[in-house]
């Protein structure tokens, strides 16, 4: 095969990675932006979403699309509820102290991982894609489902953008992000906004996970990579900036796809991680973010 097909394949794979990644990172970025905390358990919410997707899809017999749709609706709801409970029980009592929160979410990470390992087991399990169409491209056929993943994540990102910029809920969230104390003075229930944002962030990760399980199997250790990549994306994009997050996810997804087609995936990850660490060292506000007030 010539260079062209490889590049097209790499670009498509990169776009799929970017689509899933931008949803996951968006959740992390929202939580960081509004609440000013780093949620280390974010990857486990992703993993939980994937495992629950497998569970819900096995409940339904018949056409695979039914089970998938059920998972797409229920899995983010359940994950959001788990996040809500852990926020109320733990994070709120820590008063959102950044360092204590990191330690607590590391604890949460282990707890979720262990529970899934005990209940679900160490196997990787696939979910059948809701439809199986191959779309003919000039050199090869490409999975129609993967293209649908890209479309779906564009839709969800657009919906999140609409929620943030055009609705009252979004206004309240942005006000809390801008200045917590002033927002509270204006009668915004900051406490409830935090709970909602934490649940929303986890639910976004779960949606991304449901979309990804037909491509990548559900496994109890699958949360670490999305967590690290989301960190990378959120940092490059500038913490708490929606546009930056999406652009950075595209950048990382595409370069990851292209580098791993031509080089070893380990080397690709090494280079990407090192580059991002350097960005954070020399430009802490990210490539698109503005300096913290």
């Amino acid at each position: 095969m010539a260079f062209g097909p490889y590049l097209l394949l790499a670009t498509l794979e990169g776009l799929v990675t970017a689509a899933v990644l931008s949803l996951t990172a968006l959740g992390l970025s929202l939580v960081f932006g509004v609440m000013r905390i780093v949620n280390v358990a974010h990857g486990e919410f992703f993993m939980l979403g994937a495992v629950l997707a497998w569970f819900f899809s096995t409940l339904v017999t018949g056409h695979p699309a039914l089970g998938f749709l059920l998972a797409l609706v229920l899995s983010p709801l359940v994950v959001g509820a788990v996040a809500l409970v852990s926020e109320r029980l733990v994070l709120r009592r820590l008063d959102y102290n950044p360092e204590a929160t990191i330690v607590a979410t590391i604890g949460l990470l282990y707890i979720i991982q262990q529970i899934v390992l005990t209940v679900y087991g160490p196997e990787a399990r696939p979910v059948v894609a809701p439809f199986d169409v191959r779309i003919a491209l000039p050199w090869f056929g490409y999975s129609g489902y993967k293209l649908a993943v890209i479309a779906a994540s564009v839709l969800v990102i657009a919906a999140t953008w609409f929620l943030l910029t055009k609705t009252r809920i979004g206004l309240v969230m942005r006000a809390t992000q801008y200045d917590r104390e002033t927002a509270q003075n204006f009668g915004i229930p900051v406490d409830r906004v935090y709970a909602g944002v934490f649940a929303l962030g986890a639910a976004l990760a779960a949606i991304a996970a449901v979309l990804v399980v037909p491509i990548q199997q559900a496994h109890y250790l699958m949360g670490l990579d999305p967590l690290l990549l989301s960190f990378i994306v959120v940092i490059i994009g500038g913490l708490g900036s929606l546009r930056g997050t999406v652009v950075a996810a595209l950048l990382i997804g595409l370069s990851d796809g292209i580098i791993s087609v031509f080089f070893s995936p380990t080397l690709a990850k090494m280079i990407a991680t090192l580059l991002v660490a350097m960005v954070l060292v020399f430009r802490p506000q990210g490539l698109f973010g503005t300096a913290a007030r």
Binding site: V38, V90, R93, L94, P98, E99, A100, I102, V103, A104, I106, G107, L108, L109, Y110, I111, I112, Q113, Q114, I115, L117, T118, L224, L228, F231, I232, I235, S264, T266, L267, K269, M270, T273, L274, V276, A277, M278, L280, V281, F282, P284
Partner: protein
């Protein structure tokens, strides 16, 4: 008064070493092995404590310093046929050099960014050990044979794989690092580090070079952790990339928090406690990660100062 306090805490530390020495003769074989491991890992925790407890810098990447010591010693002994002493020195040098480089870069950031940057550098180190599988054998790791783990000491050859020798060497390293930590905590450097932790701006305004002091803390911390790593490789004869994984960055944080940050004996207490909690818990259930997770959350919620920290707060305010 100050002299009396200093004397008292010195005596306490000597007594702790004495008890640990005596334990070698009374502990059953299995627990003696566990204790040698705990002593080496407590050195790792003490290195972590120097930076996190005293200087207030939360690193999520200390596995790379431990692993630098581990590989610095393991690779030179395995591939270059270096002696044990030379390998140990190579491990320490590798860790200190890495810590200097990482410190120069990572200390440009603060707070959350510092945690994430150290996490990422450590991840790069981990991936590097996987990438050079030809030399490191990745997750599978290298096993150092018994005949290369001989320490020549003035004509006498010590077999580091012998349980008693292993225990004494681990205890010797532990004692050196314990008293070094005590000395640092009392020295001007330790005081400045605590001042930086409490109020960085004010310390800078008083004329202290904050960056240089922090860098010193990172290098010393990296050096202690590398010493633990090098000792681990030589005493237990196994070098694998799982020691560079993210889990080994979180464990020292857990041990230090459990035992008590910024206390000299906290890291030992925390490591000991956690090891035996997992040991006992795994007798009942294989779900030991659950124990770790719950322990972390309970700790930050109810005992933010750890075991030794709580004892100091309630009963023994002179505890270093």
């Amino acid at each position: 008064m100050a002299d009396k306090t200093a004397m008292r805490s010195l005596l306490l530390h000597v007594a702790v070493i004495g008890v640990l020495l005596a334990l070698n003769f009374v502990l059953p074989e299995y627990h003696r092995g566990v204790f040698s491991r705990i002593l080496v890992l407590a050195v790792f925790a003490m290195g972590y404590n120097l930076l996190f407890g005293y200087c207030g810098l939360l690193s999520l990447g200390h596995a790379m310093f431990f692993a630098a010591g581990l590989y610095g010693a393991g690779l030179t002994v395995y591939h270059l046929d270096w002696g044990v002493a030379a390998g140990f020195a190579a491990g320490i040098m590798a860790g200190a050099t890495l810590a200097l480089a990482i410190g120069l870069l990572a200390l440009r950031t603060t707070g959350v960014a510092f945690m994430i940057v150290t996490l990422m550098f450590s991840q790069v180190f981990y991936l590097t050990t996987l990438y050079f599988t030809t030399w490191t054998r990745g997750e599978e790791g290298l096993v150092l044979r018994q005949d290369v783990r001989q320490l020549g000491l003035g004509g006498v050859s010590l077999d580091l794989s012998d349980p008693a020798t292993r225990y004494f060497v681990a205890l010797a390293l532990f004692a050196v690092v314990l008293f070094a930590t005590l000395a640092i905590a009392r020295a001007p450097l330790g005081r400045v580090l605590v001042a930086i932790r409490e109020n960085e701006e004010r310390t800078r305004m008083l004329g202290y070079d904050v960056f240089a002091n922090k860098l010193a803390a990172v290098v010393l911390s990296g050096l202690f952790c590398a010493a633990a790593g090098a000792a681990y490789a030589l005493l237990f004869g196994y070098v694998g990339s799982s020691f560079a994984a993210i889990q080994y960055s979180i464990l020292p944080l857990l041990w230090v928090l459990l035992g008590g940050a910024a206390t000299t004996l906290g890291p030992l207490v925390g490591t000991l406690f956690m090891f035996y909690v997992i040991d006992i818990a795994s007798g009942f259930t294989s779900a030991y990660m659950l124990v770790v997770g719950v322990a972390l959350i309970v700790l930050v919620l109810f005992f933010p100062r750890g075991i030794v920290g709580a004892i100091r707060e309630r009963w023994l305010p002179w505890l270093p």
